[in-house]
Symmetry: C3
Subunit: 337 residues, 3 copies
């Protein structure tokens, strides 16, 4: 695809070569993310960071990514009693707001809203999450993390063995990731969930129709011993009749250091879309894993910054100017990506 | 008036020459608004964008205008449980906040609040709307839009024929615009509303006392056939005993493409302060007008950015330095004002 | 202490030489605070201004301080329905958010939360207030103001006589200030409050153990006649059974111009942490003091900006580069600190 001026609305837009292009640009962003140098390439540009649904981390990640390229951020952090409340159409809102910025990132609780907004916007729109529909930058950062973790093991995504664990029915993240994986070869996906929370058939079919091997099970321990990645997700209490029943289920799909040591291959990477619930004793990813060097959950969010920088650089067509606008970092940087 | 360091609180401050000065500076801002170049003239300056009442578009417009001049924006986007809630006076708040920025834009639900705040502020204050009282930048952007639209027809504001339609009683926008029009010659204003929502007498008298011709009517179709501008406003449901009665009224003051074609002169410009309500079948400005090139409603909000840039440049006295601090735009710009 | 890369969590961290270092750097920030010049030393750096509790003025003060050094600010202005609500631990939140910025300022309603957050953060964290526990920059700006006011009288902090008035039991501000005063010599602190709102014993003991003279009283007039500073605080209505009883108490600890003229030495400095309540007739600091040149309450908030700039410059180790990155101010500056 031609990224210049494009909207980024759905992972369905991407061919494998597009994904690889994004990842190659993300790699080039790493020195800026790590604060080895700063770039002013987007000096004077404005991001409209329009979050019509609260989300601190995704909002801040998009905004920081734009700042890291030298641009300014104007934003809204929740629904407010805005014009949308007064009955304004999304298309009108888009025409107005797209006059105020050079690119827009939008999150909105309603599925399809971001695409509708984009259809009337005069500047490129990046989907920051539209309800149960899409959150394409999350899927990209997940796959980018997989690629980087595997690269350290001299492996590529082709041939990946990944176990997805937990609520695979409602988890937007695993749906999008499974679609992206369909672009690669010799993938083995193990879908481990309670039957009630199984991956919807359409995603399973798409995987199989593109040649992936799919294993479906409700047994955790038997299925995590020969995989490269375990991708854990939250089992949400509200899906179950009672908290007790939810805890019972969660307990069966829970990962901790003892289980990891006993059942996983030594270098198995642990991922999670975050946030992970730390209130329950039956939380899906125990904090005793925090010292495990293969726990990649915070590398995921760090990588998200690089992927979002890459998308901004591609859509605004400044990839080849980033380095020529670079400066040295003057301050003490504690930051390590 | 001398703009340097001045508060911009009310359209009553302006003589015709002041309005023309603002518009001349707004014209000079257009290349920056259109992203043909960027300027860093306000590098290091801080706008305190203090919205003590939620308003996404006006807040973002002020913030973007300041960013477009190279400045930084600190802001508040709603009442919060701020010091004002703890009983702090507006004057104390002003003394504190004016220590944190170089210029302040303030919106507050209470009429007169911004002037009171300004009286204690140590930096210039721009009124971003104080309840039912004033919203001077909206009136200026409306008149600036009228001037630009007429200029394309080789016309000036003098001699303007404008129909104001809808809720003329509570509409802050049409009150302020009518006051600004009093500064011009040979104006004909046609006030078209239900009798219950008629323009208050004081505004009618001011227009007449400055030589404007005023026509008052509750008939739409007979009064839009010889005007340069139709300025439509929202008839708010809550003014009427029932929704049905409101729809009945709204239907009589509604504009769509069929009515436009049959009753308006070919080049009649259509304006609206936005947002327009798109939920009701009886909405005041039908979306079938969206392909009409004379629909100026989104040019209004685009022009708002230029007018706000002009006010910042005038108040901070950098008009003559804007161009000398200009740089080329590095990124792909989809933006067209 | 070594400030480079350090967390600033508590005034307990500071020795006298540390406080003096902060104040010396704050002095060097004054030309930038006064807009005599601007500096771009932190160009490209990002502050994560994470206010998980609403506080307009402290949030804007931190953000403006960072902008004044040339950096960018990403922020959150309230609790939102954020990940913390979904049960994420503070340590997880810290690991994620510290990947998005170079330094974090955090406010949170829960005592101890900021230190817990800092323990997992990969970048320096400044405590912007953690519930009833600490608000170290407020204590520093108070003491910095005292130092500057006394310096105008050719005095140093050693030998200070200060009356603290009002709610000394719950007032976080006076607790922290009294601890800082323990670092100085020959201090006389007069603690004036209703017995129910007396300073907790631990703070009194710390003062005495470090050689300070402490006077405890519930009489205002007899105790403000030989002091350098009167530090007034708000007596909160909610501490008392009824509003009438609260007003009765407040009236006894109230300062106005008549009392000042009759009971204070001519140059006595008046301080208050703000906001002051201006709704009640029995407000603690009457507005008739606003013309009194010794009223330092707005100099306190102005000084807060300088102290916060100093802390950022120290923690990010750019103190010696601030001046070499300076530029002239292009705009008309109405600002006087």
């Amino acid at each position: 695809m031609n990224f210049t001026g494009a909207h980024i609305l759905s992972i369905e837009q991407f061919q494998r070569e597009d994904v690889e292009r994004i990842f190659a640009v993300a790699d080039r962003m790493a020195p800026y993310g790590r604060r080895q140098r700063v770039t002013r390439v987007l000096e004077g540009a404005i991001l409209g960071n329009m979050f019509f649904e609260a989300s601190t981390r995704t909002r801040v990640s998009f905004g920081s990514a734009f700042n890291l390229l030298g641009g300014e951020v104007r934003e809204t952090a929740g629904f407010e009693s805005s014009a949308l409340v007064k009955g304004e159409s999304l298309r009108d809102t888009a025409r107005v707001l797209s006059g105020f910025s050079d690119v827009i990132c939008m999150r909105h609780p309603q599925a399809g809203s971001v695409a509708e907004f984009a259809s009337a916007s005069r500047v490129p729109v990046l989907n920051g999450g539209d309800g149960s529909n899409e959150h394409p930058t999350q899927a990209l950062l997940d796959l980018y993390t997989i690629a980087k973790e595997l690269a350290q093991r001299q492996r590529s995504i082709d041939g990946l063995r990944i176990a997805m664990i937990g609520d695979l029915r409602y988890g937007r993240t695993v749906h999008s990731l499974s679609r992206l994986l369909s672009l690669y070869k010799n993938i083995h996906v193990l879908l481990i969930s309670p039957p009630e929370l199984a991956m919807p058939e359409q995603y399973v079919e798409q995987l199989r129709s593109t040649g992936a091997q799919v294993t479906i099970s409700d047994q955790l321990l038997a299925n995590i011993n020969h995989v490269d990645i375990v991708y854990s997700t939250r089992i949400q209490e509200e899906r179950f009749p009672s908290r007790e029943e939810a805890d019972l289920y969660r307990g069966k799909f829970r990962l901790n250091q003892a289980i990891y040591t006993q059942h996983c291959e030594p270098n198995t990477v642990i991922m999670h879309p975050l946030p992970r619930d730390s209130r329950s004793a039956a939380n899906e990813l125990d904090i005793d894993l925090d010292d495990n060097p293969n726990l990649a959950i915070f590398r995921q969010t760090d990588n998200g910054l690089l992927v979002r920088m890459a998308l901004f650089a591609l859509v605004l067509d400044v990839v080849d100017q980033v380095d020529s606008c670079a400066q040295a970092v003057r301050w003490h940087s504690a930051r390590q990506l």
